[in-house]
């Protein structure tokens, strides 16, 4: 059924590099994936895998000295027209109507992503005024409504408070309210619960799911937490050092992982339902610094199934390894 739905966002062969004096860092090195309407795509990976830069590339907010070198990011707009975000100028009118309009963004750090000198209300109202043709009074009412819809108690009062007056959970809710104030069709959530406690995390994940059901919005959930992905995602993209190493349906990824990195990652996490004090299987070594990127498959120095003479020379392409799933590994011809 999903095959006849057009993707809402289609990322093709995205390459984003940072050009520094010490050398070029390929933060995203040829990533391709689709986000479908009403579905949640989980992007998993450890630090330095390029998951956040991918999100920044989509919104065209990559900081200098980084820039998109190659690839396409095709967004299907509400009227059915397609637009390649890579071709837009980073400060053009079109991209600004996409940011916050078509695509909403929630960051990891709710403390630093709000302005401390403006009230929460001012920041929501600003977004509403930018993207809709409404007056200030109406915008304020919408702001209050947005705060109410994310479960903030007494929104009429909270709207005039500053972000530091809110607790971590409420601040993240307010962040979501800003992102949702213009009814985006895609919400990019970059580590939305990483800074929160587990019970607050459960509240925020529940809220995201509820909002998704109500509005049929697509979510691109970026996280390093495999538990969060397992609970939330329909499809999963696993990244390592700027590359997509595996993608597929959530159940396939967790129950029948193909790529050695995905396998090792799943085995190495302590789980709440595992036996205490057993030795965990580990992945040897650590993530290489992006300057010292290994040749060939980026994972080969840490891989137990690496084929000498092949994995350290050639880069495996991302190819189909079954229905609706892909992996980039020479083990799968």
């Amino acid at each position: 059924m999903r095959n006849d739905t057009r993707p809402l966002l289609s990322v093709r062969n995205l390459r984003t590099s940072f050009f520094q004096d010490e050398g070029t860092t390929k933060a995203v090195d040829g990533a391709s994936f689709d986000v479908f309407p009403g579905k949640t795509l989980g992007i998993v990976g450890e630090s330095g895998c390029g998951k956040s830069v991918t999100a920044q590339s989509i919104l065209r907010i990559v900081d200098r000295p980084g820039r998109i070198v190659d690839g396409e990011i095709v967004l299907t707009r509400a009227d059915g027209s397609e637009i390649d975000l890579v071709k837009l100028k980073a400060n053009s009118r079109e991209i600004r109507s996409v940011r916050g309009g078509d695509i909403g963004l929630i960051f990891q750090e709710p403390m630093t992503s709000f302005s401390p000198v403006h009230t929460v209300g001012e920041q929501i109202i600003e977004a509403v005024l930018l993207h809709s043709e409404v007056g200030k009074k109406e915008a304020r009412l919408r702001g209050i409504e947005a705060l109410r819809s994310v479960g903030i108690p007494k929104p009429e009062r909270r709207i005039d408070e500053y972000s530091f007056e809110l607790s971590g959970g409420l601040r993240q809710r307010a962040m979501i309210a800003v992102a949702l104030s213009c009814n985006p069709r895609l919400l990019i959530a970059d580590e939305p619960t990483t800074a929160l406690d587990v019970t607050t995390q459960a509240q925020i994940l529940d809220l995201l799911r509820k909002i998704q059901q109500e509005r049929g919005m697509a979510i691109m959930l970026i996280t390093h937490n495999l538990g969060v992905v397992a609970e939330m995602a329909d499809d999963v993209v696993v990244m390592y050092l700027g590359k997509v190493v595996e993608q597929g349906k959530v159940d396939d990824i967790f129950h029948d992982p193909k790529h050695p990195y995905t396998k090792a990652l799943l085995q190495s996490i302590p789980s709440i339902d595992s036996t205490p004090r057993l030795k965990l299987p580990t992945i040897s070594g650590s993530i290489p610094h992006p300057f010292n990127r290994p040749k060939g498959c980026p994972f080969h120095p840490r891989c137990v199934s690496a084929i000498a003479g092949r994995c350290d020379v050639e880069e495996p392409p991302l190819q189909a390894v079954g229905e609706g799933r892909k992996a980039s590994c020479f083990l799968y011809p």
């Binding site: 406690d197 019970t199 495999l226 302590p270 709440i272 339902d273 004090r277 650590s286």
Partner: protein, 346 residues
């Protein structure tokens, strides 16, 4: 309540009784004290030699303050921290400052953030050797030899000892921190969130190393963490804290299989399981963690507890031993049947 000699047959290394730490809130020009943040509010637990006890709870619950009081990094407001030191029991909370230094050889700490806890201007040799220098152990050569031994112990190459911390990855830096903590052959190691700043693929390496070192050196760990999966993996017993109090202490398997405190139940159900087939009905707690400066009456958890009754609002529940070695502070512990974590594959 005294549970220091609870019938386990093992000898108790650390016995914490009625520990309290209140921080004053001062206001106005005269800095008058207008209230207290009750960061740790009557905490009692014990730690057997060679075992791992985890203190688990959400941010602000007082787990770090408790561990700092135990090391006397801060002086507790009230209570006893009894450490057995060569057959003699010493109260770390009140011991005179001049005895503290020798006591601290027994108790060392592993910190959370391997990036900010190592001095960037010191080499590995200086960092790991510093505790030896401070305590006047050996001469230069002996200290260097000991550093080599320690680096080998934690799986770092001794050739690297003239390098600076920036040359190492997060996991390697955490190994440096562990080597430093072990330099003086401590008996008690307090590890405050030792893996939470690390990447998942590196966490397992450090957890395995901690387990291995415990076996080899007979260490006793007090493990402070918020991640229940990590806690389950490393500990023999777990103490769950909520707003300055321990609500439940039990052997690990028992706590996870059959929690007896509603907060423990909710906390465990909130952890996302890394298996999409287990998308369970989660217990989502209403509201927020109580403010330790303005704690609720009675049981601190009652405003968020779905089983709360009138008595919970009025009186704080006492800690009871509901099963051997299973302590819980809940008025309704005996009658409630709470949900634990199912074993995978079961």
């Amino acid at each position: 309540m005294t549970n220091g000699d609870a019938g386990t047959g093992k000898s108790v290394l650390l016995d914490v009784r009625g520990l309290k730490k209140y921080f004053p809130i001062r206001r106005g020009i005269l800095q008058k004290t207008i209230g207290h943040v009750k960061a740790v509010d009557d905490v009692t637990f014990f730690l057997n030699r060679g075992e791992t006890l985890s203190l688990v709870g959400e941010s602000g619950c007082g787990k770090t303050t408790t561990s700092r009081c135990i090391l006397r990094a801060i002086t507790p407001t009230a209570g006893q921290v009894l450490l057995s030191d060569n057959g003699e029991v010493v109260d770390v909370a009140t011991v005179p400052k001049n005895r503290l230094r020798s006591l601290r050889r027994q108790m060392q700490m592993i910190f959370q953030d391997p990036f900010s806890s190592l001095n960037p201007r010191m080499t590995l040799l200086d960092i790991v050797g510093e505790p030896l220098l401070v305590h006047g152990v050996g001469n230069d050569q002996e200290r260097t030899d000991r550093v080599v031994e320690l680096l080998n112990l934690v799986g770092l190459r001794p050739e690297y000892m003239r390098r600076y911390p920036h040359a190492f990855s997060g996991g390697q830096r955490q190994r440096i921190g562990i080597a430093r903590a072990l330099a003086l052959n401590p008996r008690l190691v307090v590890a405050d969130e030792p893996v939470s700043a690390l990447d998942v693929s590196v966490q397992a390496q450090i957890l395995n190393l901690l387990l291995e070192l415990q076996e080899r050196l007979g260490l006793t760990y007090l493990f402070v963490a918020h991640d229940l999966s990590v806690v389950k993996h490393i500990s023999e017993r777990v103490a769950v804290m909520y707003v300055g109090r321990i609500v439940e202490t039990a052997p690990t398997e028992e706590l996870f299989a059959s929690p007896r405190h509603p907060y423990t139940e909710a906390l465990m159900s909130a952890v996302p399981k890394p298996d999409p087939r287990l998308r369970s009905e989660r217990i989502v707690l209403e509201g927020e963690v109580a403010d330790p400066a303005n704690t609720p009456s009675g049981c601190h958890f009652h405003p968020r507890c779905r089983y709360a009754q009138a008595v919970c609002r009025e009186t704080a529940p006492a800690q009871e031993e509901i099963a051997p070695n299973h302590f819980v502070s809940c008025h309704r512990a005996a009658e409630l049947s709470l949900r634990g974590v199912a074993r995978s594959g079961a």
